[in-house]
Symmetry: C2
Subunit: 336 residues, 2 copies
């Protein structure tokens, strides 16, 4: 790609809007001096945050509307055509920007991207991909909530897309190991959809390693885990819930007595290191994969650090041109 | 119940067989002096472990076969009619024992209990229930893997059974709060099965609080979480996997430098307290609910401490006569 990379940022998105997104964009602009960033949003809000001090690689595209977290996706799409979210996606549609980032309403972002960008040829449904910390570093998991149920063919498409993402973004794994999430009880080996997807994936041009169980997500056995959006969302929130419970109980135990508090002080370097490794902000920036264009969803409640990670994810995917790579792989699969 | 409580224990079950199950039974026999325990298994194995020193409330019932973890449930049922597992379940069937405990092959245990005990009237499918640690103490969750997919009616039956278990075994909650597991994305509100189950549960005679998300399992918002066995199993193994990863990373960080090791020493009391609270052995002993009789499944890899917890769960359920209570509640629902 000869033109400089260009990332569109929905600056009105997220629980704290421009007060987080704008500083995050400015930090990213300092980090990636060869990348252009366009902030979309209300003129007054953007100007207040920028205070006339935007670096040369940051510009603004003003939009009057803001998609709220409570907006129904259909309403956001139909009634807020001049929203910051829509403008950011439009920039990707026209080819002006190579990727967009939003921390806004997930349903509205998905519906708008679907309507504006359309699906890649050979992909029926978008999927939400995120990285999960694991013993080997991290695991790519999809779908995390875009589809309450999936067909075997859709799961197989997710597998190909996840495989491309893992290969392109990690570098190290030329042939990422792809597993299909199942349960391991003796009598039942998953439902019909999972069985049919297993057969399809075994015949696909991916390094399919077969069924994996949910605890394998955290192991070094697999690089990509495929499942439907219902199960994936439950798995993600189970692990987040468990991690938060452990953090809470740790705090409780470390503050129970004065002696324990002293112990916590002595243990602080190790605990801080652990906290940094498990910090969910480090894993912020899920990819909505399957569209004709790169759409990164940041967690709505994230802070400057987390939002910046989401922007970095957009830069990385745009740099690797993952959309073209997915198209190529799916095209090859159809022609085979 | 005027006859003394009587618990049957499949002593050949579990990764370490009688070397764990027999000492656990002896410990339970000392703890519950008014309860009878019958160990089922191979004569030579039992006699070797007991060494002629069984207390008065422990007896043996010899069985020639052993169901292996690799046995297909159907084969275990058809070809191993004199197995320790079958004998333990038979004792419940004849009314001789009030509950049985096995750490054996889950599929075989389920199939054998299904065949021998039959389902309770009004219950179509058995479900696996376990307690999960939470901020409020713990949450009952079902199904954890007995059914790869469930109908709305079956989920509603699980809700009633889980509610009875939580009420009877906790005492405190006369009307346990029951939630249905769903995902919270804006656009999609779960699949059709979940929607239909939601409507059924709203009309059932339980304290139904509506949809919950997977992170709510660990909160103080709900006492019983209902889901199908596929999702439940994935949720359980996700939380276990996340907890194990955190424990591993903690060990890594606490041993990275000599100074960190000193810090770990100072922090040991708090860390040990945390470990004890999260110890999966404390939560060992899942109930296979829905049969005409109490069947407790211990984790196959557990040790003496964990196996003893499973036996305690059997005693508690037998004492509360949960099977009769479920029958009564489901009967009342049908008559209403």
């Amino acid at each position: 790609m000869s033109a400089p990379l260009h990332i569109a940022i929905d600056a009105m998105s997220g629980d704290r809007g421009p007060s987080v997104s704008v500083p995050a964009a400015l930090a990213a602009a300092r980090e990636f001096r060869d990348v252009r960033f366009t902030l979309t949003g209300r003129q007054a809000d953007l100007e207040r945050e920028l205070q006339g001090a935007a670096p040369a690689n940051v510009s603004c595209l003003f939009a009057k509307d803001v998609v709220e977290m409570t907006d129904h996706p259909r309403d956001a799409l139909r009634r807020k055509k001049d929203s910051s979210m829509r403008r950011a996606i439009d920039l990707v549609k026209t080819g002006d920007a190579h990727a967009c980032v939003s921390a806004g309403n997930t349903g509205a972002l998905m519906a708008t991207a679907h309507f504006v960008l359309k699906m890649l040829p050979g992909v029926e449904r978008p999927a939400i991909v995120s990285i999960i910390p694991s013993r080997g570093g991290h695991t790519y998991m999809l779908d995390l909530g875009a589809n309450a149920s999936c067909t075997p063919a859709q799961l197989c498409q997710f597998a190909v897309m996840g495989s491309v993402l893992a290969a392109d973004l990690e570098g190290a794994h030329e042939r990422p190991r792809v597993g299909l999430l199942n349960i391991g009880e003796e009598e039942i080996k998953g439902n019909d959809v999972v069985q049919a997807a297993h057969n399809l994936m075994a015949g696909a041009d991916i390094n399919y390693v077969g069924f994996v169980e949910a605890h394998d997500i955290f192991s070094d056995k697999v690089d990509v885990v495929v499942t439907d959006g219902f199960t994936g969302n439950v798995a993600l929130k189970s692990m987040e819930g468990a991690a938060r419970l452990i953090a809470d109980l740790m705090r409780e135990e470390f503050t129970r007595t004065p002696l324990r508090k002293l112990g916590a002080l002595a243990a602080r370097p190790a605990i801080n290191a652990l906290r940094a490794r498990m910090d969910p902000r480090r894993y912020n920036g899920a990819t909505m994969v399957g569209f004709k264009g790169i759409v990164i969803k940041s967690h709505g409640g994230t802070d400057l650090f987390g939002f910046q990670r989401a922007i970095e994810a957009a830069v990385l995917e745009a740099r690797n041109d993952v959309t073209a790579r997915i198209t190529q792989r799916l095209g090859a699969a159809r022609d085979a």
